[in-house]
């Protein structure tokens, strides 16, 4: 219970501080307060003055941030400058697509990564292990955006690209972790007593490595979310990643600050959830 409260407090603190850092960066970014409407000669001087007065409301970053939180608590995330739509509406439309992409990508990455890491522990599967190492190394050398393009050319889903981007990290980490666990003295004892490879793997190796593997689960969510940006942008998937890319290209700072905070919350929640789960498993074994 205390652990959960600690994690929740950490998330709130990071979000509040991160949000302020984001808002301050956005406020001091070159171009803040410059409106396209300034170039519209059909507007009267009074309209221009009104526009500048509305921009001046955000001149103090602290006041801007307090106002932002006030609106946030009322459920108002502001309006996208580039897309001229409420941010909450944009998120409502795009979050399901990103959830599907991230979910499918993570499922693929973990199935491939963990499966091949387990296979590489078996002495009979040396060639499979070598092939997996080669595939993981090759994918690690490719930029995520190129993998997304290759998927487009192969008429494959962008979700496959997300899976391939996350796979090598999952494979390499779990393979090293499982290999280290397999070399522990109690595993050697079990092997000496004649236990089968599968039994050793399931009863003696996996439970030892489980907390760290779960921690990697949290980190892999962060990796998959990062991969969403190039994949959704280049594979034309209407998700949060594509939205972030469009916001970046059009310097839509309101949208970017909101997206940054949402990504931070999701990442922290995933990491904290996996940490807690790993802790519970560790306690259970202890």
């Amino acid at each position: 219970m205390r652990g959960m409260a600690g994690h929740a407090l950490r998330i709130v603190l990071v979000v509040v501080l991160g949000g302020f850092a984001g808002a301050a960066l956005a406020r001091y970014a070159p171009g803040w307060g410059v409106d396209d409407e300034d170039l519209n000669s059909s507007l009267s001087a009074a309209s221009h003055a009104a526009l500048h007065a509305s921009d001046a409301n955000g001149s103090n970053p602290a006041a801007f941030y307090v106002d932002y939180w006030g609106r946030l608590l009322r459920g108002d995330l502001g309006t996208s400058v580039a897309l001229h739509e409420p941010v909450s509406q944009l998120l409502k439309e795009r979050v399901p697509e990103t959830c599907k992409s991230v979910g499918a990508g993570l499922a693929l990455a973990w199935t491939m990564g963990l499966g091949l890491a387990l296979l590489s522990l078996l002495p009979v599967a040396r060639f499979a292990a070598w092939g997996a190492w080669l595939l993981a190394s090759l994918v690690l050398c490719l930029p995520a955006a190129v993998l997304a393009l290759l998927c487009v050319y192969a008429h494959a889903s962008g979700r496959l690209a997300i899976g391939l981007i996350v796979f090598p990290r999952v494979y390499q980490f779990t393979r090293n972790l499982l290999a280290r666990s397999a070399a522990l003295p109690h595993v050697l004892t079990a092997r000496a007593k004649g236990a089968g490879e599968c039994r050793i793997l399931l009863r003696h190796v996996l439970p030892v490595a489980a907390p760290q593997i779960l921690a990697l689960g949290g980190v892999s969510v962060c990796m998959a979310l990062a991969a969403c940006v190039p994949v959704e942008a280049l594979c034309d998937l209407p998700g949060i990643g594509q939205l972030a890319w469009r916001a970046a290209l059009s310097r839509d700072l309101t949208l970017l600050v909101n997206l940054t905070m949402i990504m931070t919350v999701v990442t922290l929640a995933a990491n904290s959830g996996m940490d807690l789960l790993g802790g519970l498993i560790g306690e259970g074994r202890g």
């Binding site: 603190l13 990071v14 991160g18 050398c141 940006v229 190039p230 990643g241 972030a244 890319w245 931070t264």
Partner: protein, 268 residues
């Protein structure tokens, strides 16, 4: 596997030479246009053909190699320096400073890397001259990559500050800056070196991603990332397979870094 590692190091040295000698090896300037022959295929004048604006592709690959291979290490050096100063000071001094640094590290690491990169890149001007864009891109990579390295340096500096070696130095009258300068920093050198080498391929890939998304190095200055934008034109790609060369060079270079950095146990 020592032979593979040696081959990787030789390849990296060759790439280093090519990027340093780009001015002598390139048949034309990276921005010079041969307007009468856009999208030309390989010929004696243009070994790798020309791009859609009629620029010599070999020259652009050579200059792009120079930009990526000189500036990624520069960004890695910046990251390592930041990590050394921030992590080293936090680990050595401890107390509230270390707690504050750890919180800052958590804050930076809690955001997806590429997402953070495009967000901060978008906060800086996008419509800038090519040299400014390349400086912004790599400076940004250097400034945002410090957190992971600083965590490692912090842990190492803390362990060193509480080691018997440091205790002995303190007992001998060394303290403060002398202890840091003469005893802690030399022992942090291997960690900092490792962080430097590990950061280079990461930054090469990050620049490629940013440029492919239109947020990196601006035209006409070439980098591996901006050269990869040719891959977005599938019809031209099938007509001229030489357009894959920048990608092949990037993969070989990043792979060579991996092979050169990997420890023996990773081969098992």
């Amino acid at each position: 596997m020592k032979k593979t590692r040696a081959a990787a190091i030789v390849f990296l040295m060759l790439m280093g030479c090519a990027c340093l000698l780009a001015g002598y090896l390139a048949p034309a300037s990276y921005a010079e246009q041969f307007r009468e022959i856009p999208n030309a295929s390989c010929s004696r004048q243009h070994w790798l053909g020309t791009d859609d604006l009629g620029r010599d592709r070999l020259s652009r690959v050579l200059y792009g190699t120079r930009v990526s291979l000189l500036l990624a290490p520069a960004a890695a050096l910046l990251t390592t320096l930041l990590a050394g100063v921030i992590g080293g000071a936090a680990g050595f001094l401890g107390g509230w400073l270390e707690e504050a640094v750890k919180a800052a590290i958590d804050l930076v690491l809690s955001m997806p890397w590429l997402f953070l990169l495009i967000t901060v890149r978008a906060l800086l001007p996008l419509n800038v001259p090519p040299l400014t864009s390349v400086t912004i891109t790599f400076a940004l990579l250097g400034c945002l990559g410090w957190a992971g390295a600083a965590r490692v340096v912090d842990a190492d500096a803390k362990a060193l500050a509480h080691s018997e070696m440091a205790l002995l130095a303190r007992a001998s009258g060394s303290g403060g800056m002398r202890l840091l300068w003469r005893h802690i920093l030399p022992n942090l050198k291997p960690v900092l070196q490792a962080q430097f080498w590990v950061s280079i391929p990461v930054f090469i890939l990050a620049e490629a991603n940013l440029s492919l998304l239109g947020l990196g190095v601006a035209e006409p200055l070439p980098s591996w990332g901006s050269l990869l934008r040719e891959l977005e034109n599938y019809s031209a790609l099938t007509a001229q397979p030489v357009q894959w060369i920048p990608l092949a060079l990037l993969v070989l270079t990043v792979g060579s870094f991996q092979l050169a950095l990997n420890r023996e146990e990773d081969w098992a």
